[in-house]
């Protein structure tokens, strides 16, 4: 048979393809419906958070930071509850990373503050002596791209049925014992999306010290990248 295959390139190629495609079919396909269901308490990203996520990706933060807490005592001690599949339901792309040159960030919103990030991103070694993380100074002067984040939200809603403007269940219960709900709103137009992001940004800069950043947001209505990034990091809980 093999001698015959080696003289018939077409069937040879078909054979090779069957051999290599088989594993993917068995391993990947059955999982799809199961894994994409969100766990209670997981909500889609707001416009500013999504813009911050794009800043995170743009600067390959995921090259050095994971977002996957493994179920070991040492990891839950350090980072919090181990990660659950449904928590990633709105993560497109996933950002688990493959290398921890720096610590995991999956629940960084639980134990770091806006103030901490503001100072840390400017000069990591000043906050954590011995840190080898580079300074991200340009994030303080470059403005974030809200339009593209808005386009991403629209894509999520229109192609992947991500529940924007719809109630999603939260962990907390109301007086009747039913889960409270949260509605993550998305703008109707580019202008509204930008206005909504600015409202979020104003909330973030309340806890920031850098006067230039405060002025950019409060006086000029511009949003530096750092503000969006902090909004995203704070949302990781």
């Amino acid at each position: 048979m093999f001698h015959w295959l080696e003289k018939n390139p077409f069937f040879f190629a078909v054979g090779v393809f069957a051999a290599i495609a088989f594993a993917g079919l068995v391993e990947i396909v059955p999982n799809f419906a199961e894994a994409s269901r969100p766990v209670i308490g997981t909500a889609p990203y707001s416009t500013l958070e999504l813009a911050g996520r794009q800043v995170y990706i743009k600067n390959s933060c995921n090259a050095c930071h994971s977002q996957l807490i493994r179920p070991f005592k040492s990891e839950t001690d350090r980072y919090g509850h181990y990660s659950l599949s449904g928590e990633y339901a709105y993560d497109r792309p996933f950002l688990w990373g493959s290398k921890r040159t720096g610590p995991d960030l999956h629940r960084v919103g639980n134990y770091r503050t806006t103030d901490w990030h503001e100072n840390h991103m400017k000069d990591p070694a000043a906050i954590v002596p011995g840190s080898i993380m580079p300074k991200y100074t340009w994030m303080y002067t470059k403005m974030v791209d809200i339009d593209t984040a808005f386009a991403e939200q629209l894509t999520d809603a229109q192609f992947f049925a991500v529940p924007y403007n719809k109630p999603v269940p939260m962990k907390e219960l109301d007086v009747d014992g039913k889960p409270k709900t949260k509605i993550v709103k998305m703008g109707k137009s580019i202008a509204e999306a930008n206005a909504m992001a600015l409202v979020e940004a104003k909330d973030i800069v309340k806890n920031m010290k850098d006067q230039d950043i405060k002025d950019a947001v409060n006086k000029r209505g511009e949003i530096p990248e750092i503000v969006a990034l902090i909004a995203y990091l704070n949302s990781l809980k």
Partner: protein, 497 residues
């Protein structure tokens, strides 16, 4: 068939040899910069804080991985295909003006694609997926390059005089099919300019931005099915194709066992794809996928060692050639590093080992003993074998080649030993508890302890880069000042001249 050997046309092979060398230098130089940035973070702002965005570790990291994968390695695969393909199929590129045109077209589209990829990564336009960072316009260009290569490959196969496909051709076909399948499925994404706002606005924001077709755990599953197997079909399969051709040609020895090559080939094809799950151990993908990934990684030792043993036994009774020829040295040490790396990988895929190794520098070390010791050595060996036949000149300096071999070997050894120590040290420190059950170290303790190993790794990488520059110089001098050859250097099997 006539007895006179065919005149082959190496125009396209030469073009890709050039890019192999250029992208090799670029990719490896960026790698060395990255290595020293981890050891000495001041280097992140080496061109001043104004340009820090473009010299900083995180922006450069995908440029390093992608330029050595899609630049250096894939160029090497194309270059060797356009040399090996003609010779084992017994057909010259010059016989078909269409294939020649498509080959050149493939080259130029490839160059444009690389240029677009470099610019977009410098600007931070990335999908974040490892080795699949490119946004959709670049993805489409890559698909075009790949399809052109496939058309050329099957076109040449269609015209062949030698009816039986030599082992190397099996592996090249598998490379083409494997990467095509993996790349297409992993890069499924929806461009954001397709969306419409409630107010009717379209084409909002950056036109090249996209959203992954898969979310969360599914995205991870598809990505590591891709990530792991891109290594299989980019760093293993085509390199095995090269060693099956170049080692017997250079040594004049016939392949040790046809049956072993059959077992290794079909075994590798079937087993490799299952092992992707070992990148996701203890993650949120289903347990059975993790276990399958782990088990099949162990099984993978068989076909991997099958090829490597086949190579080493090809030298049976001719081991003096290893001492005499630096070119044989590259190929034999390359095969040995392949054995070594394909044992190390499965060990890291065992769950209890992975618990320590994952997320650490040991993984980085593993990748590099494979790519520096196996992929890099074999591609350079292939080009060294091709140079006298393509340029019709003798290799400029054998002693330079020998010094290069030892410098690079030392570099690889420094690289992986330091990363072993770094990885295991860090993995153990992360999980250490004191007598009260509290974590013994804060995270930063596990970073500062790595400084000496990062520095040693940087030196190892630098030695390898120096060796590569020596290689470049040697090839350049061969092209321009090597002794002219009247006839091709003698070599025997496979399949005659």
């Amino acid at each position: 068939m006539e007895n006179r050997p065919l005149e082959y046309d190496y125009t396209v092979a030469k073009m890709f040899m050039l890019t192999t060398i250029i992208f090799g230098i670029v990719g490896m130089s960026i790698g060395v910069i990255l290595a020293f940035e981890l050891a000495f973070p001041g280097i992140n702002t080496i061109l001043g804080s104004g340009l820090a965005e473009y010299t900083n570790f995180s922006r450069l990291r995908p440029l390093h991985t992608d330029s050595v994968i899609f630049g250096f390695t894939i160029s090497g695969v194309f270059a060797t295909w356009y040399y090996v393909g003609q010779r084992v199929l017994k057909v010259s590129m010059a016989e078909s003006s269409l294939l020649m045109f498509l080959g050149k077209l493939q080259f130029w589209i490839y160059i444009l694609t690389v240029a677009a990829a470099v610019v977009s990564l410098f600007l931070g336009e990335t999908t974040s997926k490892e080795y699949a960072e490119f946004e959709w316009p670049v993805d489409i260009a890559i698909v075009v390059v790949w399809v052109l290569w496939g058309v050329n490959m099957f076109g040449l196969i269609g015209l062949r005089r030698e009816k039986s496909l030599y082992i190397s051709v099996w592996y090249y076909i598998a490379t083409f099919l494997g990467i095509a399948m993996l790349y297409l499925f992993n890069n499924m994404e929806v461009p954001t300019w397709l969306a419409t706002s409630a107010a009717g606005e379209t084409h909002i924001g950056d036109w090249f931005h996209s959203v992954s077709m898969y979310a969360g755990t599914n995205d991870a599953l598809v990505q590591w099915w891709y990530g792991h197997n891109a290594v299989a079909f980019g760093f293993t399969v085509p390199i095995v194709a090269m060693v099956y051709y170049f080692l017997p040609k250079e040594s004049g020895q016939a392949i040790y066992s046809y049956k072993l090559s059959l077992l290794s080939f079909w075994g590798l094809m079937f087993v490799y794809l299952w092992a992707g799950g070992h990148h996701l151990l203890f993650s949120t993908v289903p347990d059975w996928v993790q276990t399958m990934g782990s088990i099949f990684s162990i099984v993978l030792i068989l076909p991997s060692w099958g090829s490597a043993i086949n190579m080493l036994l090809t030298m049976k009774g001719e081991w003096q050639q290893v001492a005499a020829s630096p070119l044989i040295k590259f190929m034999i040490l390359g095969s040995t590093f392949y054995m070594f790396s394909t044992l190390e990988g499965p060990i890291q895929a065992i769950k209890s080992v992975n618990a320590i190794a994952h997320f650490t520098d040991w993984i980085v070390g593993h990748v590099h003993d494979g790519v520096l010791g196996w992929v890099g050595f074999m591609i350079m060996a292939g080009l060294y074998h091709m140079a006298p036949r393509v340029f019709k000149r003798e290799i400029y300096s054998k002693s330079l080649m020998a010094s290069q071999f030892w410098i690079q070997t030392l570099g690889v050894v420094l690289y992986f030993t330091s990363m072993w120590i770094a990885g295991i040290t860090q993995g153990m420190m992360w999980r250490a508890h004191d007598q009260f059950g509290n974590l013994a170290y804060s995270f930063i303790d596990t970073v500062t302890v790595l400084h000496p190993y990062y520095a040693i790794r940087g030196v190892g990488g630098l030695l390898y880069l120096i060796g590569f520059v020596m290689f470049t110089y040697n090839i350049y001098k061969t092209m321009t000042a090597g002794k002219r050859l009247d006839s091709e250097p003698a070599s025997a099997s496979p399949m005659g001249a």
